[in-house]
Structure formats: structure tokens, C-alpha cells
Subunit: 449 residues, 2 copies
């Protein structure tokens, strides 16, 4: 009985897949404050030319430079596992597979994009990068990339995560990055928020404002984002490309593909290469799974909004809860984002991708069951996708249908054990965000057109 499906390094993808080529309609462009499409020069203050080109590209395939592939080979291709023991525990006829992105040095899928982002910035002569991080998965990954490629990295870490996950901070420092709890007094954006809400837990939106503000103000410094933008989605598609080859090795093809969804990069990474098949007529369900406490795709609106909290970014057409929505301090810090990737949002809006929100306690229950059967302790973000997979596998147990389920294990929970501690102590809760609170923040959506 085979448990893991491994690819040799020679099967590492040579190209990133750009889903734009297969969308039913061109993606709505980012808009400036004047409501007109932003010129590329506006992005040049914080991004290098090659990434801007990828951001607006409609080419189906983007070649991966060999030096990036060489770094990918430190841990890639990542394994695909058949979850025999989880299946047994659920007494399901479903065949469950998981793609294991926890094997990267940083413990998640995030280095898939931090490495190329650092590389293209270095090519462009940039010496410093700023970024934000939620739970710290992205900050660690950019710290790693900066270390491997010789760039300085400064990380604005959402305050609630900074306090909950001190060892993610240590990890960033081991890889040589500077880390601050956001909001800080270092930026105008941070100072504005602290004046109004000195006790704010922070949010990804606020931290993005701080990182963008700093990058925009320094010539040697650019900004790197771990999710949301098109080029980030492209970079992550190596996950799904590998998974397709590995599913073929297993002699199976998924009926349903699950990924957790905050900004959207982990979901896009596994799902977009399967979407290419779907666009070509193949039957496959793609499910983006988000927390009930930050229900961007399931209870937000599809509209133009800012990517950050204070309105420094262009307007993006996406599912949003409003750019000043501050989600509760749940433990899946990486999913606490008011918006979602425009590419994912467009597919959800078109009915080609499904969205599902799951409450916090169910996700931890799923994480513990996964740890106790498959061994690996999943990150609280990943447990969302696992919980959705378990729901589906239980449904299969009732109907008797032997569906093939594929889930992206976005990362391990080694730096999230304090969250598991609190779950076991019974001190975690579900947050069903009141409709009025969402309606309130949606009133602040920018007027467009």
C-alpha cells in the first residue's frame, strides 16, 4: 500500500501557470484613486519590472529562472501523501490525498513565492524588502529568501500574532530579518491606527499599509506581498502542477480539491492547475475554505476595494469585507484578511470555484484528528481545508460514493502549539461575525466609477 508519491527533481515544474489565460473573461484591472486603471509606473515604486510584467501578463506559461529552481530543489518537489489512516478513522470510502507543503524550511508553501520575489528584486538592484506577516508563515519565508539571496528584510508582524507566536519571530531572526509588532510608530499608517485604537490586535491590512509606506519612500527598498496579487498566485501553481503528476502516479484524479483561503495563494497554488483542466471540460470541484470569523468569500461583496487598511494600494476588484474590517484574533492568523485574491474572487463570482466558511473549533478538531492519524500537526490555517475535506469524506461515508479528495496541507503547526494548547484548555471559541459589523465596514467601500 503506497503512502507517498514522490517526484524526482527532474520533474520540478519549469514554468509557472498563469490562470489569466484560461479565465472566462479578462480580469478587471486595478484602479487608481481616480477610478481609472493604474499605470504600470505606479507599481514601479514598490515592485521590480519583472514582477509587474508577471502581474499584468496574460501568457499561460511563465518560465522559471534556473537559479530559482535550484533553490526550490532544497525541498521541492514536495510529497503527495495518501491519507490511509485518516480514511480509516473516518470509515469513509473516499480516497484522501494531501499535498505536503509543510516540508519547506519555513514550514509552509510561502517560500514558493518569496524566493522568486527576492530573486527578481535582487536582479533589479534592490537591496531591502519590507513586508507584513500574519501568523508569521510569510514573514519567515521572506526572511529565508532574503537570507538565501542576500537581501535585507524588515517584517511588520500583526500584533496579535507577534504575541501568540514568539518563535516565528525567532525563526525570522535566525534568518537575519528585523521584525516589529504592527501597528508600529515607525510609519504614518501605524501611528494613525494607534491613535484611534491603541489596543488594536492589528490586522494584515494595517501591516500592509506600513510595509508599503516604507517601501514607497525608499529607493533601495521594495515591497513583497505573500498573497493576493496575480504574480503570487502564478508562483504557487507549482504546487498543483506537481500534484497533478503525483495524482497520475497514484492512478487517481480528484473529484474535489480543497485549499484554505486567506489572501488566496495557497488555494490558488493547488487549485489553478486543476482549473485549467476544468476550463478544458474536465469535471472537478474546487473549494476555497475560509474561517467563519473572516468570511470574505462567503459573506463579503465582490467589489473594488483597497488591499490595505488605510488606502495606500490601488483598488482591486475582489471579494471584500471592507478594507477597515478587523477580524477577531483567531489563531489562523494567515486567514485574517479582509479581501481575497482578485483571480480567486473572479472565479468564485463566476461560479467556477466554491467557497465554504468553517468555524474555529471545528478546524482545531480536524487538526487534532489529522495529527493523531497522519502524524503531522497542521498549521491552524491548513486545518480549515482539512476540516472541509473531513466534512466531504463523512458525506461519502453516508452516500457510499468513493470520491477522490485532494487537500493542500499548506504548512505545519510547529510554531502554533500555543494555539493547540488553548484549544485543549477549552479557551478557544467560535466567532460568528454579526451581519451588522460586516454591513458597517462595507459602508466604507470606496466609490468607483
Amino acid at each position: 500500500m503506497t503512502t507517498k508519491f514522490l517526484l524526482p527533481e527532474s520533474e520540478l515544474p519549469t514554468h509557472w501557470y498563469n490562470v489569466v489565460a484560461d479565465l472566462p473573461a479578462p480580469p478587471p484591472p486595478p484602479l487608481g484613486p481616480d477610478g481609472k486603471p493604474v499605470g504600470l509606473e505606479a507599481l514601479a515604486a514598490i515592485f521590480p519590472p519583472a514582477l509587474i510584467e508577471q502581474e499584468v501578463s496574460a501568457e499561460r506559461w511563465i518560465a522559471i529562472p534556473e537559479e530559482i529552481r535550484e533553490i526550490y530543489r532544497l525541498w521541492r518537489p514536495s510529497p503527495l501523501h495518501r491519507a490511509h489512516r485518516l480514511e480509516q478513522a473516518l470509515q469513509t470510502p473516499a480516497r484522501i490525498y494531501y499535498k505536503n507543503e509543510s516540508v519547506s524550511p519555513a514550514g509552509s508553501h510561502k517560500p514558493n513565492t518569496s524566493i522568486p520575489q527576492a530573486w527578481y528584486n535582487r536582479q533589479a538592484g534592490i537591496r531591502r524588502l519590507t513586508t507584513e506577516t500574519g501568523a508569521g508563515q510569510w514573514g519567515c519565508s521572506l526572511a529565508l529568501a532574503g537570507q538565501l539571496l542576500g537581501l535585507e528584510v524588515r517584517v511588520y508582524m500583526v500584533r496579535v500574532s507577534y504575541e501568540q507566536k514568539p518563535y516565528r519571530r525567532s525563526l525570522m531572526q535566525t534568518w537575519g530579518a528585523e521584525v516589529f509588532a504592527s501597528p508600529t510608530k515607525l510609519t504614518n499608517a501605524g501611528r494613525q491606527v494607534l491613535e484611534k485604537h491603541p489596543d488594536t490586535p492589528g490586522s494584515l491590512g494595517i501591516a500592509i499599509s506600513e510595509a508599503v509606506e516604507e517601501a514607497a519612500g525608499r529607493a533601495d527598498t521594495n515591497y513583497a506581498l505573500g498573497s493576493v496579487l496575480n504574480h503570487v498566485m502564478h508562483h504557487q501553481t507549482i504546487i498543483g502542477q506537481e500534484a497533478k503528476k503525483q495524482m497520475a502516479l497514484a492512478g487517481d484524479y480528484p473529484d474535489v480539491v480543497f485549499g484554505c483561503c486567506g489572501g488566496g495563494s495557497n488555494f490558488a497554488g493547488i487549485a489553478f492547475p486543476f482549473y485549467a483542466d476544468k476550463a478544458a471540460g474536465k469535471a472537478v470541484r474546487l473549494v476555497a475554505v475560509e474561517p467563519s470569523s473572516c468570511p470574505t468569500l462567503t459573506r463579503g461583496v465582490y467589489a473594488y476595494d483597497y488591499g490595505d487598511a488605510t488606502g495606500l494600494t490601488p483598488l482591486l476588484k475582489m471579494h471584500t469585507l471592507g478594507h477597515d474590517f478587523v477580524p477577531p484574533g483567531i489563531h489562523a492568523g494567515g486567514l485574517r484578511y479582509h479581501g481575497a485574491a482578485p483571480l480567486v474572487s473572479q472565479l468564485v463570482d463566476a461560479g467556477l470555484v466554491e467557497a465554504l466558511a468553517i468555524p474555529q473549533l471545528e478546524t482545531f478538531e480536524a487538526g487534532v484528528l489529522f495529527a493523531r492519524t497522519e502524524g503531522i500537526v497542521p498549521a491552524p490555517e491548513s486545518t480549515h481545508a482539512i476540516a472541509a475535506t473531513i466534512r466531504e469524506a463523512k458525506a461519502c461515508a453516508k452516500t457510499g460514493r468513493p470520491q477522490v479528495l485532494l487537500v493542500n496541507l499548506s504548512g505545519h503547526g510547529h510554531f502554533d502549539m500555543s494555539s493547540y494548547d488553548r484549544y485543549f484548555a477549552g479557551s478557544l471559541q467560535n466567532y460568528d461575525y454579526p451581519a451588522e459589523a460586516i454591513a458597517e465596514s462595507l459602508q466604507h467601500l470606496p466609490k468607483v466609477g
Copy 2:
């Protein structure tokens, strides 16, 4: 340029290798308090028959039951990596390979033996296991094994590690184990120590006493040990067996093999299968690396001593600093043991294995360099072997000799970030243990024969 050498699951070893078959002389037997070889029935109070049989076996190969191999396949075969980036940083002509045992769910090589130990105990009708743990690598691994195989697990965790590594405790609890800071008031052994030294940081020797005492007193409960004993060494040889095949894939053969050495299982795991070649005439150096603060192999004596602190175990012929030696609270908790595996000790005594002690600061320096080049943050235990490898690679840079170096990365340091924090803060130190202190504890060696 290939970075990783992977084996398919079909290449997972089918047998454990028993080095006893290739030793220059039969191993000196364990002795009872009367100075006579202990009967097997004395071991039956705490070990199942199959493990006792393995403990005294002289058969070269021991078949691995298929159900154990099925669990091994959750993460095995583990990858072998070529450390290209570390080589570049050291400007060395040496070719450095590392076997990556950090990929197990527990993050170290320890599940290689916890799984079979739990399995054989379950076969024998045992329902509970007790054990000790230092840094927590072993405790986590036994917790995992108990969870996967349906046995209750109680862990006595050395107090200094319990306090330094709270998240290893959480991890054990996630896998359903009970964890106590040792010494406890639950056992006579623990109470005795606490009376004399209420502020003791604890030691592996004391924690072993507690776990053995409890297991000996309950019919449904056995004891499991993560190192030292022969059967543990055998189980770990799957590491070296895989590494040999992977070195062949790489078209190389090691001139020197390095493993960190506390009790000895990680060193034995990688080195013994190469020792088999050495016994057959092949030139290969085998280097066991220990901390200067607990210099069992380099400054201890080769003599009969107790395996635990209070004299509950049989007498083992091994390198020892004296069973009541309490090493300082260094951060490589897994290497804080007064003795060493009898099989490793015998080979060191015979001059067939080299031993090397490295001070704490050099090991952390090596760990940080490894993290910053290869990405993976190594456990403080593993950094000892890495530091020795780096010394050798630097020597190669001077001589120009392109030696092939193989090192066992016993585990990752995700639960040891507080130690890295302290290293960066400059609050760690070297401990050069005074000769008088060692002489003092050696005076308490039991008189034999």
C-alpha cells in the same frame, strides 16, 4: 545539480542491522547487583519478549514486521541532501551530504524506534508505556507511537527541558500523552532526589529512574527507552542503510560519517551500517560528537555503571561520567546523559569509532550557518554533528582534499527557538566541566567483580 537523493518506498529497508554480528568481540553482558550476568527474566518486568530477544541477539539481520514498515512509510525513506550551499559558504572542496531525519512527524529520528517499541509492546498485551525525555524529541516520538498504535503514554520530562521547551510538551499532549516535569513526587526515585536537591534541573538519569520504577510496579505497563540499549541501536540502522543506497545514487561514498551522540542512537543509526563495511575492510571514519559539557566518550571511563541515576537498571559496560553526574542545563537536552550506548562505547574503546567533544557556542554557530545556507534550522543536538562536519570541511579547505562527509541531521529545531533566542542574545556560554567534578562522580561507580 542534484540536491536531494530520494528512495522510493519500495527501497525502505526490510531488516534492521545488528552490529553485534560484526563486532571484534562479543559485547560484555549486562550485570545484576551481584555482579553476575542478568537473566532475561529480570528484563521481563519492563520489556516485552520480542525486544528482549533483540536486545541479546547476535543475528546480523532482524526482520521488520510489515505493519511497522507501513507506519515508517508515513515519512520514510527520508531524504539525503547534498549541502551545496553550505559547501560554498565554507569554500571547501569537501562534498557534504546530510541525511534528513527531521522529516518525521515528531521532527527527529526517534520514531524509528518508538514505533517498533510500541508495536512489540502492544503485541505482548501491554496497554501503557512510561518513558523519560530530555529535550522532548523522544517523548514526542513515543507519544506519536502510542497514538498511532493505541497505547497510553506517560512521559517524565527532564525539568530544565520542560521549562525551556513548553511546546514539545504541547506536542506530546496533542498526541495524547501525559507529561510531568522530572523529578516528580510520583515516584520514590523522584522524591529522593527532590529531598536532597529541591532545585535540581533534573537529568535523563533521574527521569529514567522514575519511568522504570513506575513500569516495574504495574503489570499493564512497560518501559520504553529512546537510546542506549541494543535494540534501540538496531532500529535506528534504517537510517544508515538508506543513506548507503542514497550515497550510491549520488555516486559517492563517505570518507567520514558524523552523528551527534548522547545515548548514542542517532550516531549508531547512521554509522553502524557503514561500520559493517569497515569491518569488511573498507576505509571509513566514524565520528561520534558529544557536548564538551557532558563529555562521556572523551573524558569518561569505560566501565560498568548504572543506566539511571539511582541504580534501578542492570549494570552496563559503557563509557560513563558516573551515574550521579548531573550535566549543566545546556540546550542540547538530548545529549545530557551520563553514559553512552554499550555498543557505541565498545567500538570507541576498540578504536573503531572516534569521539569528539564540541563546546556549546560553536554548535550554535554551526546551527545558524546551516540554517542560513541550507534553510533547515537544526535541533541543538544535531548542531554538534554539523559543527564537527564544518571543522572537517574547513580542514579540507586548507589541505585541498575533496573529502566526502556525511552527517546525520537528527532533527529540526522548531521547538528549540528559545535556545536560538538566547544564543542571539549572547546569554549562552561554554561549560568546560572541571576534571575534579568528573573525578568526584566517577568515585561512585559501582564495584564489580
